[in-house]
């Protein structure tokens, strides 16, 4: 990677916040700050972050609330001084940490535009030059001459973003600003950001929308508990993050491969292997390769039970499932009360990501589902397609209709 200009370098950056102190402690704090001594008893919001942002290679930050994403953005923006480590910045940075920060409620929209641009370092004539552009972007009509306090929150945001479009920095830092505003305005903002990127700009953004991160950023960093948990191609990082998030937010967390044993005299999954791997370990399959699940079902009545096989996202959303009786497959009897099965999915159409293979045992009549065994499945590969599985398709020129 030669000739790639590094715009931001974070080396071993950490940030600690002083914890609540007594009155005397606070005086002590002032004294410590004056002589530049580090503060004791602090809470670490970020530790040992190493990151680089290159020109034209936008970086998205993902992570749960409180993970330290915003603190990291603030450090790069210069609002917060890191407690440890170094931040090297090469180029012009503009930060949009909050839309409409610095707006004054009593001022009209127009007056606030001047205040906000002054905050960004523009002189009055410079602002006047770009005023039409700002007003056109905000598109709030005659409201521009009313005090901001009468605005809806959406209008404030529109104006806030519009103001920030007048500067064209090397790096634009934005913190969740796309989460606000209505659909059409969001699209407008995204379009602007894409223009900005096409014009050689670089974004450093933090968003809970994986879609935005994948769309706007080449790289992504996953911040977890103040540390850099993962860094890489945005697609990979967001995918892993989503999978982790889904697994975490599942109502009843259950580790893959943990077996929910049915009570004594009921059908159960006795054994299961997926591509030869037993539950409890990850099954790794390259995209487009085949997947084979085999195992045995216990049936106390010694009649052929039904097996239900499914593939779901880590977030419990089913992708595909079927039972043996749907295809008229009858499980062969291996031993008394044990029946085997084997199912193959050739050329698995799943897109790269994390999934689960699940096997359920059902009674011979298919009335009830008794048991469940889960097996973690990782599909590897690179793809820019969106979603969970590939659908057969072909492109062609439109057919003229008369």
């Amino acid at each position: 990677m030669h000739n790639v200009e590094t715009l931001i370098t974070l080396s071993h950056v950490g940030k600690s916040y002083p914890t609540a102190r007594s009155a005397i402690g606070r005086l002590h704090t002032v004294a410590n700050l004056l002589v530049r001594k580090p503060l004791p008893h602090s809470f670490a919001a970020l530790s040992d972050i190493n990151l680089e942002v290159h020109r034209g290679e936008s970086l998205g930050l993902v992570g749960v609330n409180g993970a330290g994403k915003s603190t990291l953005l603030k450090i790069v923006a210069g609002v917060v001084r890191p407690s440890t480590g170094r931040v090297d910045i090469n180029g012009r940075i503009s930060a949009l940490l909050e839309l409409g920060a610095g707006f004054h409620p009593e001022y009209t929209g127009r007056q606030n535009v001047f205040l906000a641009t002054a905050l960004m370092g523009l002189s009055e004539p410079q602002t006047r030059e770009r005023l039409d552009e700002i007003l056109a972007f905000a598109d709030i009509g005659e409201h521009i001459d009313q005090p901001i306090k009468q605005y809806s929150s959406g209008m404030v945001v529109r104006l806030g973003f519009a103001v920030s479009t007048v500067v064209r920095p090397d790096v634009l830092i934005t913190d969740e600003v796309l989460a606000v505003g209505d659909e059409s305005f969001q699209r407008k903002c995204i379009r602007w950001m894409e223009d900005f990127l096409a014009g050689g700009g670089t974004l450093l953004l933090c968003s809970h929308s994986m879609f935005h991160i994948e769309k706007l950023c080449q790289k992504a960093a996953w911040i977890h508990a103040g540390r850099l948990h993962a860094y890489g191609a945005s697609k990979t990082v967001t995918r892993d993050y989503l999978a982790w998030h889904d697994a975490r937010s599942r109502p009843r967390p259950q580790a893959a491969g943990v077996r929910k044993q049915g009570a004594g005299g009921e059908c159960a999954v006795s054994t299961l292997t997926v591509n030869g791997v037993a539950p409890g370990e990850d099954v790794v399959v390259a995209a487009g390769q085949s997947l084979v699940a085999q195992g045995s079902i216990y049936c106390p009545e010694d009649r052929a039970p039904i097996v239900l096989i499914g593939i779901a996202t880590v977030g419990d959303a089913p992708i595909y499932g079927l039972s043996s009786d749907m295809d008229g497959y009858r499980l062969p009897r291996l031993r008394p009360r044990e029946f085997g099965f084997r199912i193959q999915f050739p050329e698995l159409a799943l897109l790269p990501g994390r999934y689960e293979v699940r096997a359920h045992a059902m009674d011979p009549e298919g009335y009830r589902v008794f048991d469940e065994v889960r097996c973690a499945l990782i599909i590897e590969g690179a793809s820019r397609e969106i979603g969970h599985c590939r659908l057969e398709h072909s492109w062609g020129d439109p057919v003229q209709s008369s």
């Binding site: 916040y17 002083p18 009155a23 606070r26 005086l27 704090t29 002032v30 700050l33 004056l34 530049r36 603030k74 923006a77 210069g78 609002v79 917060v80 001084r81 930060a95 940490l97 909050e98 920060a101 610095g102 004054h104 009593e106 001022y107 001047f114 205040l115 002054a118 905050l119 370092g121 523009l122 002189s123 009055e124």
Partner: protein, 263 residues
């Protein structure tokens, strides 16, 4: 020098902040900025009534001027200093939302508050001066430039001290409550309500160390008596005020690095 260049570079922002500060004062009032005129006139009426009709205070050697002139000339610069310092102390905490989210030289908030307060009070002073000039014996015009320099020095002192109090206030919120009583104390040990002559010899060293006492004294001597013999003190006072600003900036910048931690 660098500081001046920074301020000049961000003059649009400073002007915005000053304008915001001034319009804020009169926001929601019926007569708006007319209060800048009305308030000093009302206060002057009250002082005139209390001190000339009720208490009948009379002081000799005022160059033919009444006590109200004597008082007003000292009181308005003091009000600029007191109000400026009090408001400057709160300026960073009050603009917390901005300080937490936007990068800019935060000193500008303190400077804007001081500038706005002194502009308003100086305007009030001019109104008071004009009224007294019309109604009473004329002031000495030769005192006017001295008066203006003295106001500037006063503002610089307020700015320097304000930088310190505003930045400490972010960490220790007691400053705001402490500053009121401290200012009241300074007010009474400064000859504003009374002439310097009433102060016993043994205490006069306190006044010698009190820059506000000197500044008020210089303005009074100039305007009331046309006496510029003490005006030279403005030079060392200006130097002291600039030193205070420099010191204030040192403290402020150290603490500013951690403002966000305490907001």
């Amino acid at each position: 020098m660098q500081t001046l260049r920074m301020i000049w570079g961000r003059r649009a922002l400073l002007a915005s902040f000053v304008r915001r500060d001034i319009t804020n004062r009169y926001a929601g009032t019926l007569i708006g900025a007319l209060w800048a005129l009305g308030q000093p006139v009302l206060m002057l009426l009250i002082y005139g009534f209390v001190f000339q009709r009720v208490l009948r205070v009379d002081i000799q050697d005022l160059g033919g001027h009444g006590f109200v002139s004597f008082l007003a000339i000292g009181l308005w610069p003091w009000m600029g200093f007191q109000e400026g310092l009090q408001r400057a102390t709160r300026s960073i905490v009050q603009n917390g939302a901005l300080v937490k989210k936007v990068v800019f030289p935060f000193e500008l908030l303190v400077l804007a508050t001081i500038t706005a307060t002194f502009l308003v009070q100086f305007f009030g002073f001019l109104v008071v001066l004009a009224v007294l000039w019309l109604l009473g014996p004329p002031f000495h015009a030769v005192g006017l430039p001295v008066m203006m320099v003295a106001w500037l020095v006063m503002a610089l002192f307020a700015y320097g001290i304000g930088l310190v109090t505003a930045s400490i206030q972010v960490v220790v919120r007691d400053i705001e409550h402490l500053i009121g009583p401290v200012l009241l104390l300074i007010f009474y040990v400064t000859p504003i309500l009374y002439p310097r002559k009433l102060v016993p010899e043994s205490f006069s060293f306190v006044l010698d160390l009190n820059p506000v006492a000197h500044l008020v004294g210089v303005i009074r001597a100039g305007l009331l008596q046309g006496d510029l013999s003490t005006a030279w003190v403005l030079a060392p006072l200006l130097a002291a005020a600039l030193l205070m600003v420099w010191l204030g900036q040192l403290v402020f910048r150290r603490l500013a690095e951690s403002f966000e931690d305490f907001m």
